[in-house]
Amino acid sequence: MRDVRLHAGIPVKPVYGPEDLAGRDPARDIGQPGEYPFTRGIHRHMYRDRLWTMRQYIGFGTPAETNARFKYLMAHGQDALNVAFDLPTQLGLDSDDPRAEGEVGRVGMAIDTLADMEDAFAGIPLDRVSVSLTINGMAAPITAMYYAVAEKQGAAADRVVTTPQNDILKEFVARGTWIYPVDPSLRLVGDLIEFSARRYPRSNPVSVCGYHIREAGCTTAQEMAYGLAIAAAYVEMMLARGMAVDDFAPRISFNFTCWGKIFEETAKFRAGRRLYARLLRERFGARSPKSWMFRTLIGGGGSAFTVQEPENNIVRGAYIALAAALSGAQTMALPTYDEAYTIPSAKAQLIALRTMQICAEESGAADTADPLAGSYYVETLTNQMEDKILEELAAVERMGGIVEAVKTGAIQAEVARQAYLFEQKLVSGEMPKVAVNCHVGDRRAEADREVELYAFDPRVAATQVARLATVRRERDDRAARAALSRLTDEARGTANLMPAIMETVKAYATLGEICQAMKTVFGEHKEPIKW
């Protein structure tokens, strides 16, 4: 009989039964949906009361182009947005910066000033639509722009629902859009959490990500362990800043990946919810049940998709959507079948949205809370996954804790090592992938086939640079300079920087200027190169 082992390293038996759960206490470990420790989900009736939010990741070219795509998907039933920014924006470089050559508007939309943010959300009421902002190193200024646009639209602060990703630790581990050294970067994360918790009570000012770490190579159990370790680091930081845990923890949200290995993913999320609830209640003393809840976006993993026979990815997406639904997602997003080639075409985006809608409306996965509960296999796997996650958390502690592990590069090296092990399993066929390492078709015919792809418009950069020049010319330059110099001064102290950042944004300072105003004080991160 073939040996089967999950990504987390857990061996799978051909059959499970009651003996696998002997000695466990179902009331303590499994409980009821909507009740501590939330193994079965964070709401009593789950999708019968409220379906998961569908939130495709979108952004490309100029703010006006992205605005049109937002409206296209909303017209087809998408109920929330998830914004992609281009790399210069993510790294605090203006579109006319020489380092931005070739990157403007490529992997997301370009934002240089508040004027761009106004265009991006023109005609989209920010007191009614919830918006995720995939921004980290520059989360504070970009979210400040978002709050400023909401204010200009006349949206009441307590109606604004936005989720800036604002998770810099995972950028150091995996995604790479770090700018400043670790400590000042963490300060900015804390400033945005604190400011938002006080002024924008329905915002989710941090979205803790396991997603990108797994996509960079780690295992399922490591993904959850590293995500929980990062969340705990932020909680500790906010406590040290003097906030009470129940004043910010209810607004912490999560972002995790999901591949098509349905039961492993479901077990990962069930175990993760249980561990997070215990962490917040037992270790941090949170009293509000909302603080105990692991609210998560489950995003389909782009690295589960293949360049070979890309239409097969539509089928993979359907299994991923099913796994995410069975895992109790609050929000769902799917990669598109053309993921491996380029950013999505409108057609590919629509198919991904339709996949989630078919899962919601036709498959039955949304009919009842946690339909896999009580399965000998899934409950056993949930317990085993919990043990594995705890082992990985202990390994992080041995590295000196997550912040230290990021500074030394130890955790980055472990993720890379796992990526290499995984690749070897793809090469050997131990990790089957259809049309890649098994059931391989005619590669030559495949190579000659055309896939309909999004065509990048090379005029985007020129348009964006011209727009930036106009804003610079028309703004009150003295006001912008004064706001920037106040920001530099405040960066030298310890005050919350958000009010000063809000001022720079409203004076139409550019993102590059704002980034530089802080870089003068904070300096730049030097990557520990360890592999």
Binding site: G102, R175, G176, V307, Q308, A419, W531
Partner: protein, 126 residues
Amino acid sequence: MKVLVAKPGLDGHDRGAKVVAYALRDAGVEVVYSGLKRTPEEIVAEAIQEDVDVIGLSVLSGAHVPLTRRVLEGLRAQGAGEIRLVVGGTIPPRDVDALLALGVSRVFPMGTPLPEIVKFFQEVTP
């Protein structure tokens, strides 16, 4: 055989670069890894200082054509045109010929099996 695996531009995705670096090292190739977000000028300087035979660029952001052009120009300007350049990453099929025309020795687009990349480095003569 000595190789510089390098990440030019702003893209922070280093999974592919590190996996290739590990595979080459296991195949007996001496490998230097640049780290993220290096400018083309920094990559050229590091390649010359480390005296490598081949530079492997990894780009997943879509900016591969201008970045590759600048690395090649930099190598020629420094009189290091003998250092060979290969490019991997998210390279759409239509851009493969454009990169080869610039003077790149080989392109490894997404989906290239790892053993194929290793084989290239084992067969190329320094």
